[in-house]
Amino acid sequence: MSEILLETRALRKRYGGLVATDSVSLAVHRGECHALIGPNGAGKSTLIAQLAGALVPDAGSIHFAGQNITGFSAHRRAALGFARSFQITSLLPNFTVLENLALAVQSVSGSSFRFWRAVNDETELFERAREILRSVGLEDVATRPVGSLGHGEHRQLELALALATRPQLLLLDEPMAGIGPEESERMVALIAGLKGRYTLLLVEHDMDAVFRLADRVSVLLAGRVIATGTAAEIRANGEVRRAYLGEEENA
């Protein structure tokens, strides 16, 4: 079996009476694309937020490359190689697309406690930013303010920001949320191109996409992981079919 990069042990998070994360033990292997599926409200985003360090779990632990990182802040995890795209688009709306990217690149290009030299003179930052924009197909809108973009472009920029910090692990929370079939197809192709280069934890609703992209799949239901396995195993799993896939087919 390959090396485990990210692991949770008996992770637990309550919102009042609701247990949003219920003793979740999950292992993501280095280099794999691991999909996290489950119906709305299953606790997928809550889990991602805890993995990213934005939300503190009530119990359990999180390990990255063998190190216990449960108490690490979000920015420390980013420095370790975590990157995140948000389900609800979270960008810098008053910056241009290029400036968004340049700021992401800056965070992994030496100290930002520099007060005198103009950022605009640091051409390497912007060159690297443009490279990433090209790789996600956003070079044409580079100088546009983020606020003026469409939703599909926002989703692409979410992904681009995550890629800009030279991560090892990408936490992608529904990268295709709310975009049309054509743009979805482009996003699937983009993510497929990331496979092998990064370790991916992908939250996704579209089963076709999941089964095309994922090496392994974990199914979350009411905060609990009810199954983990290869795509084929999950498809064949009776409990999963009843609890989740069947529901999709009926819908």
Binding site: A52, A54, S73, A74, H75, R76, A78, A79, F82, A83, R84, F86, S90, L91, L92, P93, N94, F95, E99, A102, L103, A104, Q106, S107, V108, S111, S112, F113, R114, F115, W116, R117, A118, V119, N120, E122, P145, L161, A164, T165
Partner: protein
């Protein structure tokens, strides 16, 4: 074209600033020289607050704490160490102690956000205000008069025009530094935090540290403004750190332009000139000021400086 216009304004501002003592003498209104000094000192205070509020999104209602602290460093030293008469010694000390105060207060306040941040900065400033009103050895409530201005080698600081040029040089230096900061890596990060702090965290920025450093710089500059004001007025009092003064600085920032480099100067000039003109007509001049502030918020949300800036 825009470039030309901007440079035009800059040159005009500079020309007026440099020749102000001569202009005042021509008009026979020497009072304008000290008025201009006060204006520049307020502009420095407002610019330092603009770093916090306009660039960093940290709305503080207690910024006068550092203004007062800087002033009291000058005041207390004039009592305890009258021999320390050099501004080259005392002003840096005022800046350093204000910065130190900002480290302590900032480390606590920046744990909170939004309305809580407003309230807790206000609370700290009011606490200092009451501490200084009860410090009877240094005048308590009544404040403390200074025998004379601090000295600078080769300059007759007692002269209002000389002092004005010193303040002008300091203000110009600080504004230049703030301009560099705004366009620097640090400035971009600060702007990013103002826009979306959670995103900046997930990009790997330790946002608390950046905000604290901005808070310390702002406190240090406000302390410098306070030290200058103590010398300008030859007087310090707890009122310098009251919430009223913090409020005025905030009004200046909004009036002048949140986040604009020139916002602090534009706001201070507008506020003080309005005050000067309107008090001649009515004692209720603040009603008029209120209406103007409303108009700015609704019709020129980028403030006076925004009217001159190039359109995005």
């Amino acid at each position: 074209m825009n470039h030309l216009r901007r440079h035009g304004w800059l040159l005009a501002t500079l020309a007026v600033a440099l020749s102000l003592p001569q202009l005042a003498a021509l008009c026979g209104q020497d009072f304008y020289v000290s008025f201009a000094s006060r204006l520049l000192i307020w502009a420095l205070l407002a610019s330092s607050l603009n770093l916090l509020v306009g660039m960093g999104g940290m709305v503080s209602l207690g910024h006068a704490a550092y203004f007062g602290a800087g002033a009291y460093v000058v005041g207390i030293l004039s009592v305890e160490a009258p021999g320390w008469s050099s501004a080259l010694l005392v002003w840096p000390l005022a800046v350093a102690l204000s910065a130190l105060l900002a480290v302590v207060i900032g480390a606590v306040c920046l744990r909170t956000r939004g309305v809580y941040f407003i309230m807790i900065t206000l609370a700290f400033a009011q606490m200092l205000f009451y501490i200084f009103t009860s410090l009877t050895p240094y005048g308590g409530d009544d404040g403390l008069s200074l025998a004379k201005r601090l000295t600078l080698p080769g300059l007759a600081m007692a002269g209002d025009a000389t002092f004005y040029y010193v303040v002008l040089a300091i203000f110009a230096a600080c504004l230049t530094a703030l301009g560099r900061l705004q366009a620097s890596r640090f400035g971009r990060v600060l702007a990013g935090i103002k826009d979306n702090e959670e995103r900046m965290e997930s990009l790997g920025y330790a946002t608390f540290r950046f905000k604290l450093v901005a808070y310390i710089i702002a406190g240090a500059l406000a302390g410098l403004a306070g030290a200058l004001m103590a010398n300008q007025n030859a007087f310090v009092s707890p009122n310098m750190m009251s919430w009223n003064e913090s409020g005025i600085a905030l009004v200046m920032v909004i009036l002048g332009g949140l986040g604009s480099l020139w916002g602090g100067l534009a706001g201070a000039a507008a506020f003080l000139v309005l005050e000067e003109v309107l008090t001649g007509f009515t004692t209720h001049w603040q009603i008029v000021l209120g209406l103007i502030l409303l108009a700015v918020v609704f019709f020129a949300p980028r403030g006076i400086a925004g009217l001159f800036a190039k359109q995005p």
